[in-house]
Amino acid sequence: MRPLKIIVLAKQVPDTRHVGPDAMKPDGTVNRGKLSTVFNPDDLHALELALNIKDRIPGTKVTILTMGPQKAADIIREGYYRGVDDGIMISDRRFGGADTLATSYTIVQGIKKIADYDLIVGGRQAIDGDTAQVGPQCADKLNIPQVTYVEEILDFNDTQIIARRRLSKGVETVSSPFPCLMTVHGSSPECRSRIAKNVMRYKYARTKTEMRKGDPVLEKLHKKRPHLVIPEWSVEDIDADINKIGLAGSPTKVKSVSSIVLTANESKVLTDSDSDIEGMIKELIKHHTIG
């Protein structure tokens, strides 16, 4: 089997799974500052899928690609700690406010710059939007097949890859030729832990922008070890059309958000006393709700 070139798409997201009471501002908008950021859970599964193929096919090269603000360089470092060969960051203020269409355009411009790939993998969806749209949209723009909800890679040869998909009501095994794009389901294996040796090797990896405040020690280190410089691509670097990125390239706009106010019912308030509960059961039986 020939070695593969794999690109992992990964996103840094606010941790919407742990939304505390202070995560909402009084006006009903999200207080992003109160939410910690995490490696999008499904994308970690995608990373594992890629690293697993690398284990099985010697010489396979895994590149992690993320798009986001400077803080998202954490995603690249995390990728290095767990075993990727390369990391690339797409970052530019002008990409901000992008919906899935503009995001997929931007990512595809980045992928086209990488040019050489057999397989692209990403999580099924990101927990900040749960849309599951960017994967299929990238596949369309690259004009390659998509295989969504992948749970396990069953087999591969030089020309095609066979995977099991997890559907909401079952499973399906499909084959796809290379190159193709896969989105990975959360039911696939969890990502391996960081490797101590890699943490030592990459903990000082930084983008140029992260270095801009000036740290002489790090600068010297980066000159000596160029692998610590995380490539950072701007609008110009990926030759992006300014009308197709950010807010301008996004057809969907948020008209309004509302924190959900539960419509108040006239509720009967009871205690756990025998008489209260027996009374309620009798009413339910009388109205044929139960019984």
Binding site: T16, D130, D140, P145, Q146, C180, V257, S259, V269, K282
Partner: protein
């Protein structure tokens, strides 16, 4: 007025439940707009399928019937849908937020270079004033969905890159037959004229569709537990009550995440949406993530230690107390009073 379009899924040779819901939701939008409702369906052996679609008030139906179109594969379905939508130029297109719809719709949105809102739970028609252009856009689709882990509802609109597309969650739209004999214009599409070998490069080798065994959606009574139930063992209290009432047991995301109950019994935004006759919520605080999936129950009983649990606001009966005390008493008095 341009049309409202629905992509219909086939399940076990019939029009899927979600697609029937979409046809009804689409018809309501079309009526508000004074526009026709159109639909497309692709599959194998579709003879007579129109009889399941027309009654929802479909004015025009596009059918592609070919053995290569079943089971669903992304590329051929996307190519057919793209051709039809490009020619028909509808105003709104709806898909189910299913394994199929969530695979197909984004690929199509990219092809059509248009907006797509995922997992909507409310659809409406309304206007929007764009300040920058000083222009009022009328008759836009309001695609409303829970966002940010279910803590807010967002109204998503799209005024400049059409069509306006949305996937819609299963079980949230009411089915409504308009007329059993509704007259539908049928247009048959020859798949072979549209598709090429390249559309079939992905092959389905094997397929297992499982009946999940759990039928929360159809159950008239649901006893659901949250994190407040405390343990896997305590869920037996809920199971006992559900068994005696002839209902099913469900859980909130917090209860599923804590391992108290199986994932396939999760109710809420990321689980199943239900609208039973009776919903008993035990130890559930009532995050939007959960209430979005059960608030349409005819009657809601909330059992909670916390008299201020948000779910109490939508409950018909609020029992403030320990579920370990309340649930056995409910069983006891049901046994004593039921005939």
């Amino acid at each position: 007025m341009k049309s409202v379009f629905v992509y219909c899924e086939i399940e076990n040779e019939n029009v899927a439940e979600i697609s029937q819901e979409l046809l009804s939701a689409g018809k309501r939008l079309a009526q508000k707009l004074g526009a026709p409702l159109e639909a497309m369906v692709f599959g194998n052996n579709l003879n007579g399928i129109e009889s399941q679609i027309s009654p929802y008030g479909v004015d025009k139906l596009f059918i592609a019937d070919d053995s290569k179109l079943d089971p669903y594969r992304t590329l051929p379905h996307a190519a057919l849908a793209y051709k039809i939508l490009k020619e028909q130029d509808p105003q709104i297109v709806l898909f189910g937020a299913t394994s199929v719809g969530r695979d197909l719709a984004p690929r199509l949105a990219s092809k059509l270079n248009c907006g797509l809102t995922a997992d909507t739970t409310i659809l409406d028609i309304g206007d929007h004033f764009v300040k920058k252009e000083k222009k009022e856009y009328t008759d836009l689709l309001y695609a409303i969905r829970p966002a940010f882990g279910g803590s807010i509802m967002a109204n998503i609109i799209n005024w400049d890159m059409h069509p306006q597309m949305a996937t819609v969650r299963e079980g949230v739209m009411k089915k409504e037959i308009i007329d059993e004999n509704y007259k539908t214009e049928i247009i048959e599409i020859n798949a072979n004229e549209v598709l090429s070998d390249e559309d079939f490069v992905v092959e389905v080798i094997e397929r297992h569709i499982e009946e999940s065994g759990v039928n929360l959606k159809e159950s008239p009574i649901i006893v659901a537990g949250g994190y407040g139930v405390g343990s896997k063992e305590n869920f037996d209290l809920l199971r006992n009550l559900a068994n005696i009432l002839g209902g099913e047991v469900g859980g909130s995301r917090a209860a599923v995440d804590a391992g108290f109950i199986d994932h396939n019994r999760q109710i809420g935004q990321t689980g199943t949406t239900v609208r039973p006759k009776l919903y008993i919520a035990a130890g559930i605080s009532g995050a939007i993530q959960h209430t979005a999936g059960m608030q349409d129950a005819s009657m809601i009983i909330s059992i909670n230690n916390d008299p201020d649990a948000p779910i109490n606001a939508i409950a018909d009966y609020v029992i403030t107390g320990d579920l370990g005390v309340v649930l056995p008493k409910m069983i006891k008095y049901y046994k004593e009073n039921a005939k």
